[in-house]
């Protein structure tokens, strides 16, 4: 009984923290429509700031608390709303999600920058060691404060939402934003208050939970994923149900900690995974959402051109070849990762870019691919690779089928829950039997993967494996482009815009959703298998949710509907970042934050960075002469590098310089050509620009009359000398 009571209090204390955090999440989501993945990270930053003031600088606890909870946190919330979140109106769920995930990644980077890892930062509980005797059991002061805080937050939020003007505005904003606006409410101000209060609530949660854990940016930010499950209980809308959800979750975790047999290896991971399993199950019972209509998204992704795709495929393989022929083995292994992980990124293109569905579990499917190829590709049989694709696709289908009704943030959370369940429980399981089927995973550590053997050739060297992955990427990219050109691809794009219109045409939305999920999981499985093969030995940490988030983020930043977006993610994360980080510790530190900052900028340009890059390169792409000259120069530089005329750094710099010079030259040549065509436009033969770039003249009017006559239209009337004068038309002969 004693044990039951102790763990009930532990559970309630945990529930109180979840309740406080998730209520902030619900508040911002309902009033602004943005599910803030970085909510936990705000709590994490607040915990660090509190540690800094209270324990490092020795400020008294009340002052440190007031500064963090009532100054820093709300100011940070206000800043986020003004600088980032307000720009997200009219963007897709994926874009909104990416911006908040980017914020999460940037904030983890920022925390690491300010508070470098490797230093112990002990943080004691409030009134450390002191307890209150309740008669039947005791409760620590910290637990009592935590539970009391949650009750105060509940009462305070109730008062705010029902008894204050701004609270009523918030509720009106939730019900109907436009109607609230027409009645004088100011949604922007509501947003500001919501973010400020939300950030303070996250800060309270962060400070209360931090003493129970070590002050680590990653785990502290993600532990709060558990709180998301509580928010889903209230379907991201109802605060009372969110509190109920928090109690269910807290008590579940408390009792699992008390009664789950700790020595059982199969159940050890269940307790940390319990919250996300509950999250997944609750999501299955979310009532049928309404079909999406009139999305009117700002994003636009044109279909890939066949020529462009072939050029890209050839370009990727050539790039890989240059890489393996110029770098030593260590660098080939480091930079070679970009190709298999670009395949994982590519798996998001049909899913997110075409179909508008969200999955945060793609790297987990990659992990499944790696496991399968490790155990079924023994001796390098190609069937192992094939099997990896098939099994990942089947698991993808098994995940998608129960989630087929979900989309947007619910689907994102469900897939995140699946990924975390794999991280915390499944991937760390020892071997087990399922009937006659023996299941072997990462074997409690890491697992070896044999290199592929194809037509008698073994991909033994690091370089050959990188080439294999590059070819794998090129072929997968062609497949993904072919999907976009197909009837299936058009249907996916159509579903993204209007599910209702698709259904009224006779499309059963379930199957395209499941198929695209399977296709995407299969591609991710291939990426994971090739990644594992490239490394030779892999463990579960390489396939965690947190490792997968930057991939998701950078694909969307590049352009989620563009095959090049995947390449952007692969090269950006595993090419540019390690390359520039080698320049020095300062750049390395900036790189810790830069992917997040890139993602945050997405709100301004939701179609991604690639269209901007493509636009910038348009003059070069259209100038065969400069293009040919650039290619020749690059080939010569490459040959010089092969002849060891210079080392890798000068080689990279020379290639980049040639590329930049070619762009500048092509840009100048294009401008000269544009100027001469503009002159043609200004002549009287072309009337399109008259009135804009040059004033109307009598000659223009005469020409206009001729055009009317040619087209059989009645002659211009009413343009007498007086009206012409009134319009400011000058005499062309003057």
């Amino acid at each position: 009984m004693e044990k039951f009571l102790i763990f009930t209090i532990v559970g309630l204390s945990l529930a109180a923290i979840y309740a406080v955090i998730s209520s902030g999440l619900v508040l911002t989501y309902t009033t602004t429509g943005i599910f803030n993945f970085a909510h936990g990270a705000i709590g994490m930053l607040a915990a660090f700031a509190y540690w800094q003031l209270r324990f490092d600088w020795g400020w008294p606890a009340p002052i440190a608390l007031v500064v963090v909870l009532f100054v820093l946190a709300p100011a940070f919330g206000l800043l986020l709303e003004r600088v980032i979140m307000r720009g997200l109106v009219g963007t897709s769920e994926a874009t909104k999600l990416v911006v908040s995930i980017s914020l999460l990644v940037a904030m983890i980077g920022l925390a690491t920058l300010i508070w470098p890892s490797g230093t112990s930062r002990p943080m004691s509980t409030f009134f450390q060691g002191r307890r209150v005797d309740l008669g039947i059991t005791t409760i620590t002061y910290h637990q009592a404060i935590t539970i009391t805080t949650a009750i105060l937050v509940a009462v305070g939020l109730r008062f705010l939402l029902y008894r204050t003007r701004i609270g009523i505005s918030m509720r009106a904003n939730v019900d109907d934003r436009n109607l609230a606006l027409l009645n004088g409410a100011r949604p922007d101000r509501v947003g500001l208050y919501s973010w400020a209060i939300g950030a303070s609530l996250a800060a309270i949660g962060g400070i209360l939970i931090a003493p129970a854990l070590s002050l680590d940016p990653g785990s502290l930010s993600l532990l709060i994923v558990n709180a998301y499950a509580a928010a889903i209980f209230g379907r991201l809308r109802s605060l009372p149900m969110t509190f109920v959800g928090a109690i269910v979750l807290g008590l579940t975790e408390g009792y699992l900690a008390a009664y789950l047999p700790g020595e059982n290896q199969y159940l050890a991971g269940l307790r940390p995974a319990a919250a996300v399993i509950v999250l997944f199950i609750v999501l299955l019972f979310v009532p049928n959402p309404r079909l999406r209509t009139r999305s009117q998204l700002r994003e636009f992704f044109p279909p890939p051109s066949p020529t462009g795709m072939v050029m890209m495929a050839v370009g990727v393989v050539t790039f890989a070849m240059v890489l393996v022929t110029t770098m030593d083995t260590t660098n080939v292994i480091t930079y070679g990762q970009m190709f298999p992980l670009a395949i994982v990124a590519l798996s998001l293109v049909p899913l997110v870019g075409y179909a508008g569905q969200i999955s945060l579990a793609q790297l987990s499917f990659g992990g499944i691919g790696a496991i399968v190829v490790a155990h079924h590709g023994i001796g390098g049989t190609p069937f192992g690779l094939l099997f990896a694709v098939v099994v990942a696709a089947i698991v993808g289908g098994m995940v998608a089928l129960p989630l087929r009704r979900l989309s947007g943030i619910y689907l994102a959370l469900a897939t995140a829950a699946f990924a975390v369940a794999l991280d915390r429980w499944i991937f760390i399981l020892p071997d087990f039997d399922l009937g006659s089927l023996h299941i072997s995973l990462f074997q409690l550590g890491s697992t070896d993967i044999d290199p592929l053997k194809l037509f008698g050739y073994t991909f033994e060297s690091a370089g050959s494996r990188v080439m294999l992955s590059a070819v794998g990427f090129a072929l997968s990219a062609l497949l993904v482009a072919a999907v976009r050109w197909s009837a299936f691809g058009r249907q996916l794009v159509a579903m993204r815009d209007s599910e209702a219109a698709c259904a009224t045409l006779g499309l059963n939305l379930v199957w395209p959703r499941v198929f695209v999920f399977m296709l995407s999981a299969g591609i991710a499985g291939l990426g994971g298998a090739l990644y594992g093969m490239q490394l030779g030995t892999v463990g579960p940490d390489r396939f965690s949710l947190i490792s997968g988030l930057p991939i998701f983020m950078l694909v969307v930043v590049g352009g989620a509907g563009l095959v090049g977006g995947a390449l952007f993610a692969g090269i950006g994360l595993y090419g540019v970042i390690p390359l520039t980080s080698a320049l020095g510790p300062i750049v390395a530190k900036i790189n810790a934050v830069s992917p997040g900052l890139m993602g945050i900028g997405l709100g301004r340009n939701p179609s991604g960075a690639l269209p901007l890059i493509q636009d910038g390169m348009k003059p070069l792409r259209r100038d065969p002469l400069v293009l040919a000259a650039m290619t020749v120069a690059m080939v010569l530089i490459y040959l010089a590098r092969l002849a060891d005329v210079f080392a890798n750094w000068p080689f990279v710099l020379a290639v980049v310089a040639v590329f930049l010079v070619a762009n500048v030259v092509a840009g100048r040549r294009a401008r000269v050509a544009d100027d001469s065509s503009a002159e043609v436009a200004l002549s009287t033969d072309d009337l399109d620009w008259v009135g804009i770039t040059t004033p109307w003249t009598q000659t223009h009017l005469a020409r206009l009359g001729d055009v009317f006559a040619d087209d059989g239209l009645p002659p211009l009337t009413g343009l007498t000398a007086t009206t012409v004068q009134a319009l400011g038309v000058s005499d062309g002969r003057a």
């Binding site: 079909l291 209509t293 992704f301 058009r490 249907q491 009224t504 006779g506 499309l507």
Partner: protein
């Protein structure tokens, strides 16, 4: 047997009764108009017929089959197609691709295995969108956007075609051509149901007209009788209320 038979449908949104025991029938080969002032419940009626809104009471039959609890795509597969009052175009696609999506989906579930591409091209010509076939739909004016929706619906070879304000955004010449096209479709055996505010179009092309007001079907009959019906005049113009005061 009516191609479309809606019997005593009731829809409530919270405390609001949007449709109150409203009935509607449409015959194959005829154009049926559904008119009424703004907020009368016309679009809700279409949403009930297509399955986007679940009624609290009543029954919907399409080609004799009970479609009341049927899922949306199933209704389409027994011959129902529609356009939307607020355009539901596939904005990432061109005009041709929008219509092609309809043709492709139709090929997936129908027995008709002819070329989806040929059907698409034929429809582009039929609705008069050849000049803009390769344009992205977001670049079109509303009137042409409505033609794209019509073309997309026609790609499903519907037996019952629901058109929600298809002429809004069209000029007089376009409306005249559109009226002729509707007559053609009806002559081919399609049951066309038209929600429209352009009364001259409704009176010119419709064989029957139903009038909704505040969720209640207040009149039905041929265009001339509806036009002179005092209840209808009252609903539209408030004439009797004005006379009484």
């Amino acid at each position: 047997m009516a191609a479309l038979d809606v019997r005593e449908v009731t829809v409530k949104f919270g405390g609001n009764t949007v449709l109150n025991n409203a009935s509607l029938a449409a015959e194959a080969g005829a154009i049926t108009g559904l008119i009424g002032p703004n907020g009368a419940g016309k679009t809700t009626m279409f949403n009930v017929i297509t399955g986007l809104v679940t009624p609290t009471g009543g029954r919907v039959e399409i080609s004799g089959a009970d479609a009341t609890g049927m899922r949306l795509h199933r209704r389409a597969r027994i011959g129902l197609a529609r356009t939307f009052q607020q355009l539901e175009l596939f904005t990432m696609l061109s005009v041709r691709e929008n219509i092609r999506v309809g043709a492709d989906i139709h090929r997936q579930w129908s027995r008709d295995k002819g070329s989806a591409s040929d059907l698409t091209e034929a429809i582009i010509d039929r609705v008069g969108l050849r000049a803009v076939a390769d344009d992205r739909v977001t670049t079109l004016p509303t009137g042409q956007g409505r033609l794209v929706e019509l073309g997309r619906a026609l790609a499903c070879s519907p037996k019952v075609l629901l058109l929600d304000e298809p002429a809004s955004g069209q000029d007089d010449a376009e409306t005249a051509r559109f009226g002729a096209l509707l007559r053609e479709l009806a002559n081919e055996g399609t049951a066309v149901v038209l929600v429209e505010h352009d009364m001259s179009l409704v009176m010119k092309v419709c064989d029957h007209v139903h009038v909704l007001d505040l969720g209640i079907m207040i009149a039905a009959g041929d265009p001339a009788s509806v036009q002179s019906n005092p209840v209808v005049l009252d609903a539209y113009l408030g004439t009797s209320r004005a006379a009484a005061s």
